[in-house]
């Protein structure tokens, strides 16, 4: 510059001065620019750094966003599949037939759970129970694999393509994604479930593996239930058959008994009828003979004839009782149930039998309300009372006690006849109402009877649809109770 200033012929001093000013100016510009640009440059660098930081933050945001989205996707997928599984369980929960259970595994069910194909093969026979979209060749490959790896499969809860054992299967099937799992019923493998999906789906998700395992377990549980049900059903069937068999046998026996009973009744009825006519004639003549209507009899003959007459009386009684029983059994008896005062009937009956009671010096107690109306056939109940009081007189020793009581409870009236006789042994209690049964006791051995009285009594009470029972203690006495229904508003 100095050279150039020299060149335009300026004095040296001025040249140096101008040069100095110029240098100062340049230095000032440099200084100014340096101080102004430097912070800007610095700011620019800061901005670039911040931009880089923001870009880095953007990467982090995007990566955490995709992580959360994938996680959410996985959770939603799991929930969706579990919901489908729940629906499947709801629909198949009450199935109690194996084939019906397998029919539930439809293409829709398999698709809902995320698979395209499914196969269920029985472990023992390798029979196909379900085949959804597998070709014959593919199912043969799977069956062959199960057949060849029976032993190894027993210990594997799930076979997936990553396992060494499945490599051959993967190669033969040319499938990328599949699962094989056992369906265990009880302690044994019942079948195998094989599922697969297409390649483009992006592999088996954790949700699908879990759903598959649950499905296998659930099917096993269902098979257990079916097994229990079948066992129960079979037991029920057997029981039912046995009951049917026994019922049939019993019905047959009952019919036979009824037939025999009818024959017996018919026989008794006809025999009694046949007997009654000659007996009436015998009775008539014996009575006339005893009354010496045909002339005076020697004392010995009269005594014998008296005995004949007594026995004919007993025979007539017996035949009449037998005829009554027969009528009741064959429902030929006419029952006239009407309200009647039971206390009056008791008193009348006792009055009728009073001579015998007094004869044996028996103490009689009658414990009845002043009046108590019940529904009954007066004649039949009278016979019941006569029979029971008569029995009590027969078995009560002299100076013993007989109590006839009527008590009311709700709408029922219980009539009891109690004696202080020898009592009935426990073993005989059930049999005393049977026809011709006579308890073994000293009185029975002394006093002769037909064994038909209590049988008739029981039938009459049953005809009234009421109950009769006996309480007895050997050596202390016996009480007969029977019920009748109270007649209100009479």
């Amino acid at each position: 510059m100095i050279k150039s200033l020299t060149f335009i012929n300026l004095p040296w001093g001025l040249t140096i001065l101008l040069s100095g000013i110029l240098c100062g100016f340049l230095f000032y510009i440099y200084y100014y620019l340096h101080h102004k640009i430097y912070p800007l440059k610095k700011d620019l660098n800061n901005l670039e750094r911040e931009l880089k930081e923001l870009d880095h933050q953007a990467k982090l945001i995007i990566q955490s966003d995709i992580e959360s989205k994938l996680y959410r996707e996985a959770v939603e997928d799991k929930l969706k599949k579990l919901s489908f599984l729940k629906n499947f369980i709801n629909n198949s929960l009450n199935i109690l037939d194996r084939d019906e259970l397998f029919q539930q595994i439809s293409e829709k069910v398999i698709r809902d759970m995320g698979f395209e194909k499914a196969l269920i093969v029985l472990f023992g026979t390798l029979e196909e129970k379900v085949n959804i979209n597998f070709s014959k060749n593919e199912s043969d490959v799977i069956k062959h694999f199960i057949e060849r790896n029976r032993e190894n499969l027993l210990s594997l809860p799930l076979v997936s393509p990553e396992l060494e054992i499945a490599k051959e299967l993967k190669k033969n099937l040319n499938f990328e994604e599949f699962l094989l799992g056992p369906i265990v019923s009880g302690t044994h493998i019942y079948a195998f479930l094989f599922v697969s999906k297409c390649i483009i789906e992006g592999g088996m998700s954790e949700a699908e593996k879990e759903v598959f395992s649950i499905l296998c377990m659930y099917l096993g549980q269902c098979l257990d239930n079916i097994k229990s049900f079948e066992a129960l059903y079979q037991a029920g069937e057997e029981l039912e058959n046995k009951i049917k068999e026994k019922t049939f046998e019993l019905t047959k026996t009952l019919k036979e008994i009824e037939k025999i009973s009818k024959m017996k009744s018919d026989f008794i009825s006809s025999v009694s009828h046949e007997l009654r006519t000659p007996l009436t004639s015998i009775k008539g003549f014996s009575s006339l003979l005893v009354a010496e209507k045909f002339g005076k009899l020697p004392p010995q003959a009269k005594e014998r004839l008296k005995k004949i007459d007594d026995n004919v009386n007993k025979l007539v009684d017996m035949v009449n009782t037998l005829l009554d029983i027969s009528r009741i059994e064959s429902r030929r008896i006419e029952v006239k149930i009407a309200p009647y005062d039971i206390t009056k009937l008791v008193k009348d009956t006792v009055d009728f039998l009073l001579p015998q009671i007094e004869n044996k010096n028996i103490n009689l107690n009658i414990d009845t309300p002043s009046s108590l109306y019940v529904y009954m056939d007066k004649n039949l109940i009278e016979r019941v009372l006569i029979n029971l009081v008569n029995n009590a007189i027969k078995f009560t020793p002299p100076r013993g006690e007989i109590t006839v009581r009527c008590t009311k409870s709700n709408s029922k009236v219980t009539v009891s006849v109690k004696d202080t006789g020898c009592g009935i042994p426990k073993d005989d209690l059930e049999k005393i109402f049977q026809e011709f049964y006579r308890a073994d006791n000293p009185i029975n051995r002394e006093v002769r009877g037909t064994g038909l009285g209590l049988s008739l009594v029981k039938r009459i009470i049953e005809l009234h649809k009421e109950k009769i029972w006996v309480e007895s203690e050997v050596g202390k006495g016996t009480t007969f109770h029977f019920t009748l229904t109270e007649a209100k508003n009479v």
Partner: protein, 373 residues
């Protein structure tokens, strides 16, 4: 004034479903029905629906759209039929159908429809999967201009179940033109946020819709950069729809969805990009999206008091939002209130603009709300 009726049925049989809808509709519109817009799920047979609607309700025009899901009032329905019927007074509404084989005639059809209406306020269009949306967009721009007031909902070949029906004729483009007396306003709702540094689409094959290079590197590198070790998961599961790219235009970002990664690591896209354009990776923030939806619906409600809202929603959006999508629809209905009917369908992509005087573009991942006054 246009009278609207909205009826829904989820009865399984077509006859029963339409019978129910017909009864409800006749109650509101007893005189005549000029136009019936029906959205139905693939559970129903379209031809049967069309036949029953035409004999029971006898509308002058029927447009039926089969959609994977329906929006009815505050819920998203997986199975059902919903019908919007309109009785027009002095208002004009035109409907036209263009067979997909005659796509070259779309320009003529659009012109004819607009001429018929004298002045149109808005156009709606539904596109079947067999239609190339770019050809269609080109046709719109040639006939109506690049700022045309149109909203299209379309289905791609990737769609599982959608088809477009007009009576027995399937595979047609449906055009609905609204005359000047019908007042409709639309808003686009998106919840995608641009993130990270801007990049430049350095090499784009617009014809084949391929992004070949971004910042002079193979296009795929942009995802590798942001996704790090999660990139492979995304690639394997084809989850790129979660992170579309955005191109900046007039201060807003338009979505460019990545449909496939090709062998040469280029990206097959759906959207509009020109080489040299700046872009960013986009992330959908659900909370932001719900706030955005709330704000837009509140604004429009106060401004126009709409009586009917037709939603053109996006399948991609539903895939990303999942249960939040139901939440959003509930929110929309809650803001709009009882008096405003809400109905809608899901589409794979839309052709529309954010608002007037913005160039039309193909996008997926947005929701459009049309407010009918």
């Amino acid at each position: 004034m246009v009278k609207f009726s909205l009826a829904f049925s989820d009865k399984t049989r077509e006859e029963e479903a339409i019978k129910e809808i017909s009864l409800k509709t006749k109650y509101v519109l007893p005189r005549k029905i000029n136009f019936a817009l029906i959205f139905f799920t693939p559970h129903y047979r379209s031809t049967l629906l069309h036949y029953i609607v035409s004999i029971t309700m006898q509308p002058e025009n029927i447009v039926q759209i089969c959609t994977p899901f329906l929006i009815y009032e505050n819920k998203i329905v997986e199975k059902g039929v919903v019908c919007v019927c309109m009785e027009l007074g002095d208002e004009k509404l035109g409907v036209d159908f263009v067979k997909t084989q005659q796509i070259s005639k779309i320009e003529v059809s659009l012109r004819r429809l607009v001429k018929k209406l004298k002045r149109y306020t808005y156009l709606f269009s539904f596109l079947p999967s067999s239609i190339d949306p770019y050809t269609y967009l080109h046709g719109i721009k040639l006939s109506l201009g690049k700022y045309a007031k149109i909203l299209c909902g379309g289905y791609t070949l990737y769609s599982e179940s959608s088809q477009l029906i007009k009576g027995e004729e399937e595979d047609s483009i449906t055009l609905i033109g609204l005359g000047e007396n019908i007042k409709v306003f639309h808003r686009k709702v998106n919840g995608f946020l641009p993130l990270g540094e801007s990049f430049t689409f350095t090499k784009v094959d617009e014809e084949r819709r391929l992004i070949l290079e971004i910042d002079n590197k193979p296009a795929i590198e942009i995802y590798r950069k942001y996704l790090g070790d999660k990139f492979e998961i995304l690639k394997k599961n084809e989850l790129f729809y979660l992170y579309p790219l955005g191109t900046k235009s007039n201060g807003n970002y338009k979505l460019v969805s990545i449909k496939e990664i090709l062998g040469d690591e280029s990206l097959f896209y759906l959207g509009n990009i020109s080489p040299g354009e700046k872009g960013k990776i986009m992330v959908l923030k659900e909370n932001l999206l719900l706030e955005n939806t709330k704000k837009i619906v509140e604004e429009e409600k106060n401004k126009y008091s709409p009586r009917l809202v037709i939603i053109f929603d996006s399948m991609v959006r539903r895939k990303i939002l999942k249960s939040k999508d139901n939440e959003e629809k509930y929110l929309i209905k809650e803001i709009l209130g009882k008096e405003t009917k809400v109905v809608g369908a899901y589409f794979d992509y839309h052709i529309g603009s954010r608002e007037a005087f913005e160039e039309l573009a193909i996008e997926e991942g947005n929701m459009y709300l049309t407010f009918w006054q």
